[in-house]
Amino acid sequence: MKNPYLPEPCRIVAIKEETDIESTFTLKSSIRPQHGQFVEVSKPGVGEAPISVSGFGEGFIELTIRKAGHLTGKILESQAGETLFVRGPYGVCFPADLFAGKNLIVASGGCAVAPVRTLIRSRLADQEQVSRTSLLFGFKDPQSILFRDEIDDWKEAVPVVVTIDKEACSWTGKTGFITAHVPDVAIADPATSYAVVVGPPVMMKYTTQEFMKRGLSPENIYVSFERRMACGIGKCGHCKIDDSYVCVDGPVYRYDKALRLLD
């Protein structure tokens, strides 16, 4: 049987600098993830970490990586042509089929736009879904905006709110946290609308509350958790919350379940 811990070498075919501390790596890979899944990425000798997939297609995956620690720092020093080691995909995906034909609001903050990007792309590629989709993004400041060009393209098709935490010179758009803008999102019928909320724990806690104030039930909200993981396959125990293993039962959770997971 195949050893699930052994990663595959994947060549970096392109690197796009998104911000000062984030880049998107395109890797040659046969891995076919679903929206919201993650892979374990490593550099031998440095370490391994779970990274969500921000894009995929025939023969490639994209990973948008923020320089946050030792491993990600080393990965960001990599050049095109070099190799990263990858295994996966892992975890529960967003239920895109459930969202089909329904209104969907995607709210995400900072580098958490990466795990929802493929879901958004697939919605916008389908004319049926476009009119039922709206997007809400929060970033720290104008310099931190991820996928800037792509978000501009999305604005052509669907309602998009981009907000930055505090006022900044050169910024004429919206300010404040995402929570402040949930009240303005058009929600025709909360009973048949879904929200995907992904970001840091505090952001998810308060943003989901805002959506619930708008009439969405926890059953219609999906979140995605981020945890330390050493295996990705339900063994190492680092990501366990209560009786749930984020790597196998998550990272995507329906909010009525997520609400009951207490760290």
């Binding site: 945890r227 050493a230 339900g234």
Partner: protein, 342 residues
């Protein structure tokens, strides 16, 4: 079949089987105890039954035989990644008590059943392992196996009782019966199991722990006492968490190295740390709650039985004298913990 074997006969049986099997049992390592002038009682390989320690509990369980403290997952150089092979292909026979046999079934759930696929490193050691039950009619003071329903084991190839100068052996295993029939003499041997412990616990029964218990003030005391040393985790026969580290053989050349897993523990600082500085369960009290619920609630919710097997090692080893058995009972005294039983 019941046989009485003199030590010499036992040893020649072990010797005869040593080409195909390794034998592990609780042994004494003189002067290596955690206090000065004390011995360490630990599981290790034996070649004679006189080495087996019957009257003291081992500091740690037998889990490191199938889940080594440090284990190489893969080796790598500039071009390739390879999986190390097993060094010793012999079968493994472990002499241990009922609680430790039950504990391995808890590890099996995590390493073989949980998640998307079995853990190949655990599986390849586990499939070699057989248990010989050491009769435990008179358990140690801190044990609570009867409360945890682990006093009677399920799977073992033979059971043994220490008698003066030898062992009484009981086995139904055909291959073993054939071997034993030519050694020693017939004897009476009715196996006794623990019926009562010095420590009694009442694990919660609910499948839906009241949410008030998650930040209940009962955990605050542990924040003040626990020093996050993780001894309870390492001594626990069912703690299965690990971290993974890459190590280069020669840091300067950076040519070759290996990826290792190492035991980790939920009480120890850094267990939940993520790149960027986020961490969960900062206080020792929150960690105590996490571990306690895992052992007597979460695991049961997921797998249908309690994880804790009541060996009492965590109570024996804690340098701050924190009693896990007492903690279980404190949880069970809270309203709403006795709900629906499995």
């Amino acid at each position: 079949m019941n046989r009485l074997l003199k030590n010499k006969e036992c040893n020649s049986l072990l010797g005869g089987l040593s080409a195909d099997y390794r034998f592990f049992a609780p042994v004494r390592r003189a002067g290596r105890g955690r206090l000065s002038d004390t011995d360490l009682i630990t599981y290790d390989q034996i070649s004679s039954v006189e080495e087996i320690v019957w009257d003291e509990k081992t500091l740690r369980s037998a889990k490191e035989i199938m889940f080594p403290i440090t284990e190489t997952l893969m080796r790598f150089d500039q071009k390739t990644i390879s999986q190390p092979s097993v060094v010793d292909n012999r079968g493994i026979v472990i002499f241990c008590r009922s609680c430790d046999i039950h504990a391995v079934s808890r590890l099996d759930k995590i390493f073989l059943d949980n998640g998307t696929s079995p853990d190949p490193y655990y599986e390849r050691l586990r499939e070699k392992i057989h248990f010989v039950l050491m009769e435990c009619a008179d358990p140690f003071k801190s044990c609570f196996c009867v409360s945890m329903k682990t006093n009677i084991p399920e799977k073992f190839i033979a059971a043994v009782r220490e008698v003066d100068g030898g062992l009484k052996v009981l086995s139904q295993r055909r291959t073993l019966v054939d071997k034993l029939s030519t050694i020693g003499s017939e004897c009476e041997f009715e196996l006794h199991y623990p019926k009562q412990n010095g420590t009694e616990v009442f694990p919660p029964q609910t499948l839906d722990m009241p949410s008030e218990l998650y930040d209940h003030e009962m955990w605050d005391e542990y924040s003040g006492r626990c020093i996050a040393c993780g001894r309870c985790n390492t001594s626990c026969p069912t703690c299965s968490c690990f971290s993974v580290h890459d190590v280069m053989y020669d840091k300067d050349s950076g040519q070759a190295g290996e990826r290792r897993r190492v035991w980790a523990g939920c009480h120890i600082d850094g267990f939940t740390d993520m790149a960027g500085g986020m961490e969960f369960r900062k206080s020792s009290g929150a960690r105590m709650r996490f571990k306690t619920f895992h052992k007597i609630y979460d695991y049961r919710k997921r797998f249908g039985e309690n994880m804790c097997v009541g060996c009492g090692r965590c109570d024996d080893i804690c340098p701050e004298y924190i009693s896990f058995s007492n903690c279980i009972n404190k949880v069970s005294e809270q309203p709403g913990t006795q709900g629906e039983s499995l």
